[in-house]
Assembly symmetry: C3
């Protein structure tokens, strides 16, 4: 059900207080996070080996973690290094350790085989501290399986119906189809939007007298990286609706990094940042965008949780595909193939490599 | 578990606002209701064909219903008539449609084979707008399987113990047995009550110096239609406790229509009206009766939900039958036989007809 | 999963109001308790034979109990003695009756074969009315299986980590091991504590200039009876850490009776009393101890419920034993062997006797 050999966002780096233990659940697994004195990250199974008390209720002793039920102590690599009142500690006494990395302002955790963890596989999100951009950020919890949120992000026809007010999205989003490109670990979705905003008060989204161009990569396991830009009216037609060249300066642009992380089978966490290029007035604009996003993401949450409630009651079998599902199905196929490959251990490494 | 080929009460007609979508769940199935411009009723599966979003969060466009997730549009007969951005709509793209009828102030929905839906099978309740009567009405939600509520309504020995205060019911209800007649689609339960009310303040129920006669039909799938009347003291004995002739004028009388609808396996909705014949003072009397009913039905809800909680914990096997269960078992046999017949499709129509 | 042929604490005797019905659930079984006019205790299945309404919502009629759904009446021995409106009552119509005994201020109920109920098997707790002691008492509900609470009480290494502040427990509790003796129906755990309290403000627990000696029996199904005493500094060494002789007068001492009762598989109730010998100032001291216990038992509840939540999510398999688990495993072995013996009815009596 889950792809394990990949990096999941465990949280924004600012959620993890220095010197403190932070408990998170990913893919049904309780994990405790902390940082060592040298700043290095530690992520261990949040379950003492002895009687299964959560270690996140424990105590840091230097770089080590002591369980505050019966006092077992663990090194940052998960090895049990003390059992109070007992001379020997079994050599096999070791907590599951998760590879963890801080990158692009997110804390990422590798849920699969540690030997395969490769930081180059972390999607190229843009961090909050990137000097070229001014971002707002946030997160939202869902009572829904993560795939329903991925699906939502892979089919923007919903903008016309779910986000007519918040994003001011007009009918074009539903009535035309984007260009979809298969990527190594995901899909690229690109489109021109030539209609004016349906809501006039949305200049923060795109000037009315302009053509919009949005392009996003949706990458394993559920990371959306999107640039939205506007160009002088007529640019789309002049370019025959091909992507704008890299050196064509946009009138305006924004960038958003988003990530979906499964907590349990029925709950998920959604992380997001959004903002314009750094510069005068960019903080005010980022704040405005966060206000719009707050409204829009609440709209997504309402419909997705309602959909999840129907699925819990009636099951998922029998959904009718439409042409709007193209990116969604491409992404699900990538995901399902990799999940299946992980289920065949002997062949899994080959399958991941020989994609 | 459920009888499908019959009409269930989905709600009071006044619950369904004109121009609005109303979501109801019956027999675990989410259904969306609305009315067309010509007043005609529509009841469709409340689940878009595409990604299973609830259509009750959608939008009426004339007589059509548009899903507000990705914009699919449906005609009142359930056919999908538009998929935005896609030229062709598959011919088989059709929502489940439920036959629906408004009658006797209730909105009824047929949960089985639409081809068998026959409005003549709607039980002859009396509507709130009947000029001969003055009714109050209401409803109550239960955390209990519908059969426990049916059982309650089929055995009035509980009046003595559950409703001594509210209805002022004396011991006669428990210590004598009613006459039970098998009907085509239910049972008839009739009895004389010659003891005075145990609560002196209940003249609204029956004058103390009178014989009471109550008769109700309990009809598939769970509809109670009851007339309670009083006659001069001694009438019961003079008639040898046979039913009063149709032309014998009662001192007082009331009529109540009640219906039990399964929502899920563990929740149900109970609808009720009650009142005296129309005339001077009948509104005040109907209000008084509603006050009494409010108390009494809360008593039922308390004991039935407590019973349901025990059954959830210990199961239902091993209940001990008593002679008070006669009507209850007759009704369950009718129900169980029809449910079994529905499970054998080839023979079901015959079984329903050849009852 | 449960040992049935033993006495469980259903509650403090002061919880059971005279003339009232008290509902309790033990081992998933709803039970109704009341006292007869002569003071004798009655415990019956809290489920009417007829339609499974809870009898705790019924009415006492003298020493008999009437169901307030359809009026069936039961004698204190569980026999149905009246079915209103029905001449004969089936001879087999009988509620499950539980042997019940009031002893040491607790109401005990025997959950197994009534023929085996033997009040001599009730553990020798000390009641609140014992003139030699001054006790405070209380109880706490847990969202945890009862065995996790038993485990906690069988391994006091947790005092160092869970109760450093409340009980002022120092490292000695974790770094030395108690003496454990197998008893007929449990284990005895004894130890000297020679280190001073870690919290100076805990003279109520033990004077700092003293050696402490604590000894408790932990008895089936989950009853802890503990005496904690202090002796002049050096006594432990002088006695070579053997138990103090019975005639050696302690400087101070306290006694605590504690009992763990399974409510459901995932909930439990924990009863406790604690106090010093009767005498001047003993009520104030008992109140002080109850304050400390309130803090300490909340600490236990927090860690045990957190542990229970982990186990609900990940299962219980794979816990790593330590030398601190000796008493815990001895007790579990006794319990498991008796539970297994009960599952083989023909051999169960022999097994219980031939322990």
């Amino acid at each position: 059900m889950y792809l394990r050999n990949c990096w999941y966002v465990a949280g924004w780096n600012y959620e993890f207080e220095a010197g403190a233990l932070t408990a998170r659940t990913l893919l049904n697994e309780p994990i405790v996070f902390y940082r060592k004195a040298d700043g290095g990250w530690v992520a261990l199974a949040d379950r003492c080996l002895h009687r299964f008390a959560p270690l996140s209720r424990g105590r840091l002793e230097g770089d080590d973690l002591r369980c505050l039920y019966h006092g077992l102590k663990f090194a940052p690599d998960g090895r049990c290094i003390e059992i109070p009142g007992q001379d020997a500690v079994p050599e096999t006494a070791c907590l599951k350790r998760y590879p963890v990395a801080e990158k692009h302002s997110w804390v990422w955790v590798w849920m699969g085989d540690p030997a395969l963890a490769d930081e180059d596989l972390i999607p190229p999100a843009i961090g909050l501290d990137d000097p070229a951009w001014t971002f707002g950020s946030g997160q939202l919890d869902y009572e829904a399986n993560y795939r329903l949120i991925n699906d939502n992000l892979l089919d923007f026809t919903h903008l016309t119906y779910v986000h007519a007010n918040s994003f001011g999205a007009g009918p074009e989003w539903a009535y035309t189809r984007p260009n979809i490109t298969r990527l190594d670990r995901g899909v690229r979705v690109e489109r021109w939007v030539e209609q004016p905003n349906s809501v006039k008060s949305r200049p923060a989204m795109r000037p009315d007298e302009a053509d919009g161009y949005t392009a996003y990569d949706f990458l394993l396991p559920g990371v959306l990286l999107m640039r939205s830009a506007s160009y002088p009216k007529g640019t789309a037609a002049a370019l025959d609706r091909k992507p704008p060249p890299a050196d064509m300066a946009p009138l305006t642009q924004t960038f958003t990094s988003q990530a979906v992380t499964p907590i349990t089978d029925e709950t998920s966490r959604y992380f997001f940042s959004w903002g314009p290029p750094a510069g005068e007035g960019s903080r005010e604009l980022a704040d405005t965008l966060m206000g719009i996003a707050g409204q829009a993401f609440a709209e997504d949450k309402a419909i997705i949780e309602a959909q999840a409630a129907v699925i819990r009651r009636t099951g998922e079998a029998g959904m009718m595909a439409t042409t709007a599902d193209a990116a969604l199905f491409q992404f699900r196929r990538i995901m399902d193939r990799l999940i299946a490959a992980e289920a065949e251990p002997a062949r899994s490494l080959a399958a991941v490599t020989d994609r």
